[in-house]
């Protein structure tokens, strides 16, 4: 067991756990956060994505000890209904999620990507998001939403 201090959505937290425990379990089980989600535990789907110091990371395979002193941002910290991130606005306007279990991964990954590449082409967007899974087949509306977000952010 070891203490790991870090920040989640701007607030300091401290987790006492097996240092090898993935960050996902600290967020979901210890901090009772509803996102990110467990999808595979294998970094194969993206449902657990958070930002660590601004970089998208699959929290299901990131040991909690590795985020010591770092800034973790979750979907709830990306934006709120009062102060939404443009990606969230776009996903809402395009009515993207169906079951919604995957949506955390798409929002968090595309938010980080568009920050660096606001004018990305369709092909670049697809490459950046490749490997994220959606079982409901909402991919076409996801692409529509990202195009809309690009307009909102322009």
């Amino acid at each position: 067991m070891a203490l790991t201090p870090f920040q989640v959505d701007g607030k300091p937290v401290q987790i006492d756990s097996d240092p090898q425990m993935p960050l996902l379990y600290a967020l979901r089980d210890d901090l009772k956060m509803n996102n990110p989600k467990f999808g595979c535990g294998l970094a194969q789907c993206g449902a657990c994505t958070v930002h660590i110091n601004g970089q998208p990371v699959r929290s299901c395979v990131m040991p909690v000890s590795a985020v010591k002193g770092k800034k973790v941002t979750t979907l709830a910290g990306l934006g709120t209904p009062e102060k939404p991130h443009p990606i969230q606005v776009a996903f809402l306007e395009e009515q993207v999620p169906q079951c919604g279990h995957c949506i955390n991964g798409w929002v968090m990954t595309s938010a980080a990507f568009l920050k660096k590449n606001p004018k990305a082409t369709d092909a670049e967007i697809k490459t950046a998001l490749d490997g994220l899974k959606c079982r409901c087949g909402t991919h076409v509306s996801i692409l529509r939403a990202i195009k809309r977000a690009q307009t909102l952010m322009a």
Binding site: G79, Q95, K133, R135, G137, S141, M153
Partner: protein, 794 residues
């Protein structure tokens, strides 16, 4: 940069353009036309969110009948939850808003919105005032849960009738209160006033707000999908509809994109333990030895075991995960029950027939085949497929001595309640089920097993228990869609006419376990505890209106590979057996078109007899710009081959045709479904935008099954355990465009939209593949490896 946001103001079609009109409600434009290729008739003057209908009280609505003849006995006491009680379906709140209790659930396609529109319509209140409550077994009746795309088709019926009956009673109450005949009253947004004298009025809230009707409706004595009730009131004519037909946004999008609420994975009960169920890694295995000392090093971790049901629990979730990984178990299996993976379809051909059913038998196919000038024959193969839901199932159960509470993502929560009661041998009244939306199930996925597992462990430990699967539980252990072999033969006479058509499926049963978990014999835990499996033998046949002089549609089912607790047991996956059957039958129709030298669209239009089928075929062809091009040889020398193909089918009243335009990369074997054109007729359209998204999602999911999905196995185990060993479609494979033509038929009752499109995508893609390459792809999935190997022949 931030954006002020108000979900109510969000227009799903074109927010920026429509926002001002949306909010102010001054627009009289037919905003639905903004959705593009809609063929939808909508009354002008409708306001989307504030949409309401103003209609004079019709004579029919105020006429007396055998049921609910007189005024209801308004009281503060809510009668027991029974189908024949009006209060079980609809309630007027103290503020005049309406709550309607829906006995199905929505999985993210907006059924609750559509049901709300229908209730608002019948009750003459604005849509904004209607709240749909669903999924709690204590407040809603068992309308069958999510099932067979019947959410509106069957699920809306009793609610529509109940809402109409409530309106009739309210009108009579107002008539008495205002001392004016009902025929002289009108209703506007829940306020009943005297025609010509708006000042003389009374509201729903004043008449009954917060109280109960205590009035009966006539119940058809059916439970599940077929449950229906009716009152003395006649529902409105579709020509009177103002709210039904509008594109209203979903209720569950905002919390999903902001993470402000949770799904089933986020249910947390004080004092709950985390559990992981451990199932045999070898098919048909038995846990001969469990070394409990192997998890001693994990704080609080414990083994839970009864017969062949094995689990570990811990207070912290990660400890349960670790314990499941570290626990040493000796698994023993007596045999290797599965065929070699490559010999699956040979096994299906050779296995004994458990049952044969000839669902359509017109004329004499055998005789006609003998006299044929030309016989066309083909065989098509479909693999086992997994639900592989986005997250493995989770569930929470709290089993107390006198009361059991369960939280489940099962799409049939009432049946989950029944299954838990039967498993634990308690009266069903002592179990309350809360449905919480989960990872999209699209059939009977692993959620039904998860809740029975949780209930079993909670009972054994006397504590609330949360079960969550690991990825392999969701992929390797969910009930599967059956693998199949389809044989088709047709006879063509001297004039080129198809005179005989014989289509026979040989397959594993479509449901070796039932499509719901109400009987523990259909659950893994039940079978692991030694309950004898029930087994189910059924399949299906193509659904179309082709009129061939002699026609046989049949199926044959073979025995299961393992009788009990099989990871390859089958149950319903979205559009059960629709994809495999139509992959074969609609590809064979295409082969017949080519064999007779006819254009694939013209051939279908010639033989399809139902007018709505023909209309759908023509609409898809026209919208996609289909031009007949005969059998002329095409240039196939380039690195990317492109082609187009069509397929059509019926599904329980709905008709859909899809034109696929694909590209085939000769080098990589990758098929890209670039563009799809869908023509869709599901009768009356309730919510065009919701329908559009439902079709899109179904299409892409089906494209994934067509190109990628196949359960891998060895003689002793399932080898598909994650997204690498069970690949699905990635975003680079998503279509560039999905063009949808909605054909609205207000004269026809609404039918399902969740599954119909799924069944025509595989053949549309396969037919496009033939158009592109000149080669028939008669085996799914059409993955890069298979495509590459078949392309070496050209």
């Amino acid at each position: 940069m931030t954006h002020k946001l108000n979900q109510d103001n969000v227009h799903p079609i074109d927010m920026e353009q429509d926002k001002s009109e949306f909010v102010s409600g001054t627009s009289r434009r037919d905003f639905l036309s903004a959705a593009g290729a809609l063929v939808v008739s909508v009354a002008s003057g409708s306001l989307p969110i504030d949409a309401l209908a103003q209609a004079p009280a019709s004579a029919a609505a105020s006429s007396a009948g055998a049921i609910g003849t007189t005024l209801a006995t308004i009281s503060n006491v809510k009668p027991a939850l029974k189908a024949e009680e009006l209060d079980s379906w609809v309630a007027i709140q103290p503020d005049g808003s309406v709550v309607a209790y829906y006995g199905k659930v929505d999985l993210g396609q907006g059924l609750d919105v559509a049901i709300g529109q229908i209730v608002a319509e019948e009750l003459d209140v604005s849509y904004r005032k209607v709240k749909i409550v669903m999924g709690n077994s204590a407040t809603s009746l068992n309308q069958g849960g999510a099932s067979s795309a019947l959410g509106i088709q069957a699920g809306a019926r009793p609610l529509r009738n109940a809402a109409a009956e409530a309106r009739r009673i309210l009108l009579n109450l107002a008539s008495e209160k205002l001392n004016v005949p009902a025929a002289n009253l009108s209703i506007f947004d829940g306020v009943i006033s005297v025609k010509g004298n708006d000042a003389q009025k009374v509201s729903y809230a004043e008449l009954i707000g917060g109280k109960y009707f205590n009035s009966k409706v006539e119940w058809n004595k059916r439970t599940g999908n077929q449950m229906d009730v009716k009152g003395a009131a006649k529902p409105k004519l579709t020509s009177e509809y103002k709210v039904v037909g509008l594109s209203l946004p979903r209720n569950d999008v905002a919390w999903k994109v902001f993470g402000t609420e949770g799904n089933i994975a986020d249910v947390r009960v004080p004092g709950m333990l985390h559990a992981r169920v451990i199932r045999t890694p070898v098919a048909g295995g038995f846990a001969e030895k469990v070394d409990e000392s192997s998890i001693k090093h994990i704080k609080g971790a414990r083994v839970v075991r009864e017969k062949n049901f094995l689990a570990v629990v811990a207070e912290r979730e990660w400890d349960a995960v670790k314990a499941a990984k570290d626990l040493k178990v000796t698994w023993v299996a007596n045999s290797k029950p599965f065929p070699e993976f490559e010999k699956l379809h040979e096994h299906i051909r050779q296995a004994p027939t458990s049952k044969r059913s000839e669902d359509i038998k017109n004329g004499d196919v055998a005789v006609a085949l003998k006299s044929a000038v030309k016989v066309v024959e083909a065989e098509y193969l479909w693999p086992f497929q997994s639900h592989a839901s986005m997250g493995p199932a989770s569930a929470v159960a709290d089993v107390k001595a006198d009361k059991i509470t369960i939280w489940t993502g099962s799409q049939k929560p009432h049946y989950a309640r029944d299954g838990v009661a039967a498993l634990l041998k308690v009266p069903v009244e002592t179990v309350e089920a809360f449905w919480v939306q989960g990872p999209g199930s699209y059939g009977r996925n692993d959620a039904g097993d998860a809740i029975l597992d949780a209930a079993m462990i909670s009972k054994m430990l006397g504590q609330p228990v949360r079960v969550q699967g690991m990825r392999h539980d969701g992929t390797a252990w969910d009930p599967k869609a059956p693998a199949s072999v389809h044989r088709a033969r047709a006879a063509i006479d001297a004039s080129g006419k198809v005179v005989a058509y014989d289509f026979t499926t040989r397959a594993f049963s479509r449901a070796t376990i039932a499509s719901n978990e109400s009987d523990p014999r259909d659950s893994l835990v039940g079978m692991e505890l030694g309950l004898p499996p029930k087994g189910g033998i059924t399949f299906g046949t193509p659904e179309e209106s082709y009129a061939f002089d002699n026609k046989m549609l049949a199926w044959e089912v073979i025995p299961d590979l393992i009788a009990s607790a099989s990871p390859m047991r089958t149950s319903h996956v979205r559009d059960p057996v629709g994809l495999q059957i139509q992959f074969a039958s609609e590809q064979f129709i295409d082969e017949l078109a080519y064999a007779t030298g006819e254009d694939p669209v013209a051939f279908r239009v010639k033989y399809a007899k139902a007018p709505r089928d023909i209309a759908v075929l023509k609409a898809a062809a026209e919208k996609s710009g289909w031009e007949p091009r005969g059998n002329a040889k095409r240039d196939r020398r380039g690195p990317i081959l492109s082609g187009r193909g069509i397929a059509y089918a019926q599904r329980a009243g709905t008709i859909v045709a899809v034109v696929a335009e694909i590209e085939v990369d000769r080098k990589t074997g990758r098929i890209w479904g670039r563009k799809f054109t869908v023509a869709h007729d599901c009768g009356l359209i309730v919510n065009p935008q919701g329908l559009r998204y439902t079709i899109e999602g179904g299409l892409v999911q089906s494209l994934s099954r067509t190109i990628f999905e196949e359960v891998q196995f060895a003689p002793d185990k399932v080898k598909s355990v994650d997204w690498n060993s069970y690949p699905i479609l990635d975003i680079k494979d998503a279509p560039e465009e999905i063009d949808i033509v909605l054909i609205n038929r207000p004269e026809a009752p609404p039918t399902g939209a969740g599954e119909a499109t799924c069944r025509v995508v595989p053949a549309a893609v396969a037919n496009a593949f033939f158009d592109a390459t000149g080669i028939r792809m008669r085996q799914a999935p059409m993955n890069p490896a298979r495509v590459k190997s078949i392309l070496t022949s050209i």
